[in-house]
């Protein structure tokens, strides 16, 4: 290939090269920032519209929905956080946290133990076992919703938070096992041999050595299960709303998870737009905080292999 571009010699001497590099960057830089600005604005304008909307009265919203509220009205956020609707909001939040935590704990415990059995227990049918779980990836939870609803009614879990947790665990298991099995396999055999020489059996190895080592993998599947549970709408709708849940704890209303609660709130208070906006904005905060805190774990999850 020639070293000339459009008849102009590019590589006359070595010091020219970085200069050329710089030039390519400098002409495009303002455009890049402009594009970034447009994309960022596109992402956050709708969200900030709702957040700001919560600071308006309904009259203000009708007269000028754009721009900053004038004056700022705290009333909507106040009723959601400490006023009339706080029992609902905090209750839904607690219910969401409970459901998500129970899902994560069960998924991680069950998933890790199965992955360990497949990868390390020298079972005759470990391949079949893996295939059985991997086959679950074919079945999206959506298609099982009607029978799940009927089965939960038959075993009396309709209207119960466990009725949301257990099917979620079942449908999170395939991904968990598929991610964790290679992870467990990657832990060096020598470690198990060393442990066995030191008198550690299969179960002991699992609890004392494998669990601490598999932590990054467990965090990854845990985060996946948590996010799935946190955002779920269809299953809670069937189990809690259609199932007529009525769970109260210390004056908090735990009969809805947050997404379902937001949806119910919008239909119940459909005339009060700014109140809906305040409720929605507050409901979005936990997810944002969670992602901010977990971003590193999500990225690093699987790259953190066995150390030591």
């Amino acid at each position: 290939m020639a070293v000339t571009v459009a008849g102009k010699p590019v590589l006359t001497s070595l010091p020219d090269e970085p200069i050329k590099h710089k030039r390519v960057w400098s002409w495009s830089q303002p455009w890049v920032y402009l594009v970034a600005l447009v994309v960022v604005a596109f992402s956050i304008v709708p969200v900030s519209f709702v957040v700001l909307g919560g600071f308006r009265t309904n009259m203000q919203l009708l007269e000028s929905p754009a721009g900053f509220p004038d004056p700022w009205v705290w009333h909507n956020y106040e009723t959601v956080l400490i006023g009339d609707h706080s029992g609902n909001f905090w209750g839904f939040l607690v219910a969401s946290i409970l459901v998500a935590l129970m899902t994560v704990i069960l998924v991680v415990i069950l998933g890790t133990s199965v992955a360990y059995a497949i990868a390390r227990m020298n079972l005759k049918r470990s391949g079949t076992l893996f295939a059985v779980f991997a086959a679950g990836l074919m079945f999206p939870a959506t298609i099982a919703i009607l029978p799940t609803w009927i089965i939960l009614r038959e075993i009396g879990l309709l209207g119960n938070l466990l009725g949301v947790v257990i099917p979620q665990v079942a449908f999170a298991l395939p991904t968990t096992v598929v991610i964790l099995t290679p992870f467990v396999k990657a832990i060096p055999k020598e470690m198990e041999e060393a442990a066995s020489i030191d008198g550690c059996g299969t179960t002991g190895f699992f609890f004392r050595i494998l669990l601490p080592l598999a932590k990054p993998g467990m965090v990854t599947v845990g985060v996946l299960a948590f996010v799935g549970s946190w955002n779920a709408f269809m299953l809670p709708m069937f189990v809690l709303q259609v199932g007529g849940a009525n769970i109260n704890l210390f004056g908090l209303n735990l009969s809805r998870t947050l997404p379902l609660g937001v949806q119910n709130f919008t239909t119940q208070w459909s005339a009060n737009t700014t109140l809906i906006m305040a409720f929605t904005a507050v409901a979005a905060i936990p997810a944002l905080i969670f992602f901010l805190a977990m971003e590193k774990h999500i990225v690093n999850g699987l790259s953190g292999a066995v150390k030591g």
């Binding site: 290939m1 571009v5 590589l11 960057w25 495009s28 890049v32 920032y33 970034a36 994309v39 960022v40 992402s43 956050i44 709708p46 519209f49 929905p65 069960l106 069950l110 998933g111 199965v114 059995a117 227990m121 079972l123 679950g136 079945f139 999206p140 959506t142 298609i143 099982a144 009607l146 029978p147 799940t148 609803w149 009927i150 089965i151 009614r153 099917p167 665990v169 079942a170 449908f171 298991l173 395939p174 041999e193 008198g199 059996g201 299969t202 179960t203 955002n231 709408f233 069937f238 997404p259 379902l260 919008t266 239909t267 737009t273 809906i276 929605t280 979005a284 944002l288 992602f291 971003e295």
Partner: protein, 373 residues
């Protein structure tokens, strides 16, 4: 759980006799214990998994052969009538129509790829360089994806309301008087690409999911070795040539996986449309049902769980067919060298190589003998 065996301190025994003989001598004694261990590690998960994945799916298959209600799903056996009913139903005004739902799913899948793919690729390439605030930009782009579909749906239901912010901007800022009370989400009809409502839903879906594509592509681009682009630059390739011939081809696997996830997601779409339209009534009137929302409408709102299950079975079959086709023809490129496409390409290349060698040999001999070719 303790693993100490009753025969004193196993550590001492092992160091005395070496490890492997102990394992064989212990084998018989330990079998029952091992059996308990195997059961303890696998059976709890298997029970939950089988009872809440395979049993419901079996239920759905059987239920689809009955004209059942949620209370008594297995009383009125009708064979394949639910399926023939779905396939032969006529379009009725204001009623949900299965083929509208199928069409919507397909259109959403195709439009998602066609709209989000190029945007995400362009933005990811633009941002793939040293920038101030790169981390902040990435974080803010990810915000729509972090929000649940329900929150997104509620946000846009407010914005797209006839009295909402979009119409305010269109009338007060841009002077489009005709848009004053335009019902973006209420265009009664059959949906489809001629309907404003369809494109509004597409816009919301783009808002929600283009960020994920950008982040995925940026992660993929971070994996492209800098040496390659530098080498191309030294060889005199322009910025666009480098992107087109080096970066984007190396991003291929990422793009193909993203497209796969996007297609499967489009087929399962439920939360967003259900929230945006506030349930099944408006979905039916605007012709914007998806297969999943059609299934819920029939199975839950109309208590026809048999019919709804038949829809679920079809949804599964459609998803599976699309997934298999995609894997066979597109993802197979990423799945190792034993796939057929690659073998074929190899054969072709080998043949071409042989031909080139022959020609070269002929030229060589011709040159040697001093003849013109």
């Amino acid at each position: 759980m303790s693993t100490q065996v009753e025969t004193g301190d196993p550590r001492a025994a092992k160091t005395a006799r070496g490890s492997s003989p102990i394992v064989t001598s212990r084998k018989k004694k330990v079998t029952w214990k091992r059996r308990v261990e195997v059961i303890g590690f696998t059976v709890p998960a298997l029970i939950v998994y089988v009872a809440f994945v395979f049993v419901p799916i079996g239920y759905a298959l059987v239920m689809s052969l009955f004209d059942g209600t949620p209370i008594s799903p297995f009383t009125n056996f009708v064979g394949f009538e639910n399926f023939t009913g779905i396939f032969t139903a006529e379009r009725q005004f204001g009623q949900p129509f299965f083929w509208d739902a199928v069409r919507n799913n397909l259109l959403i899948a195709v439009a998602s790829l066609a709209i989000q793919g190029p945007i995400a690729l362009g933005v990811a390439l633009m941002l793939n360089r040293r920038l101030r605030f790169r981390r902040l930009i990435r974080l803010l782009i990810f915000v729509p994806y972090v929000l649940s579909e329900v929150i997104t749906g509620v946000i846009f239901a407010q914005i797209l309301n006839p009295n909402g912010a979009l119409n305010y901007v269109l009338t007060e800022w841009l002077g489009l008087e005709g848009m004053r009370f335009f019902a973006w989400l209420g265009q009664v009809g059959d949906g489809g690409i001629g309907s404003a409502t369809f494109w509004v839903v597409m816009a919301v879906l783009t808002w929600k999911y283009v960020g994920m594509a950008i982040i995925l592509f940026m992660a993929g681009l971070a994996g492209v070795p800098e040496e390659l682009t530098e080498a191309a630059a030294i060889d005199g390739a322009s910025y666009w040539q480098i992107q087109r011939k080096v970066t984007v081809p190396l991003l291929g696997p990422t793009i193909r996986i993203w497209a796969f996830l996007s297609i499967i997601g489009s087929f399962q779409l439920f939360d967003m449309v259900w929230i945006l339209f506030g349930g099944h009534t408006l979905l039916g009137q605007t012709g914007m049902h998806t297969m999943a929302s059609y299934m819920v409408t029939m199975g839950m709102n109309r208590n026809m769980v048999g019919y709804g299950s038949a829809v679920a079975v079809l949804l599964f079959v459609f998803t599976l067919i699309v997934a298999l086709i995609y894997q066979k023809f597109i993802l197979s490129r990423d799945l190792g060298s034993d796939s057929r496409a690659i073998r074929k390409a190899d054969q072709k290349k080998a043949r071409a190589d042989a031909k080139a060698a022959k020609i070269a040999a002929r030229e060589l001999t011709a040159a040697e003998t001093g003849q013109e070719t």
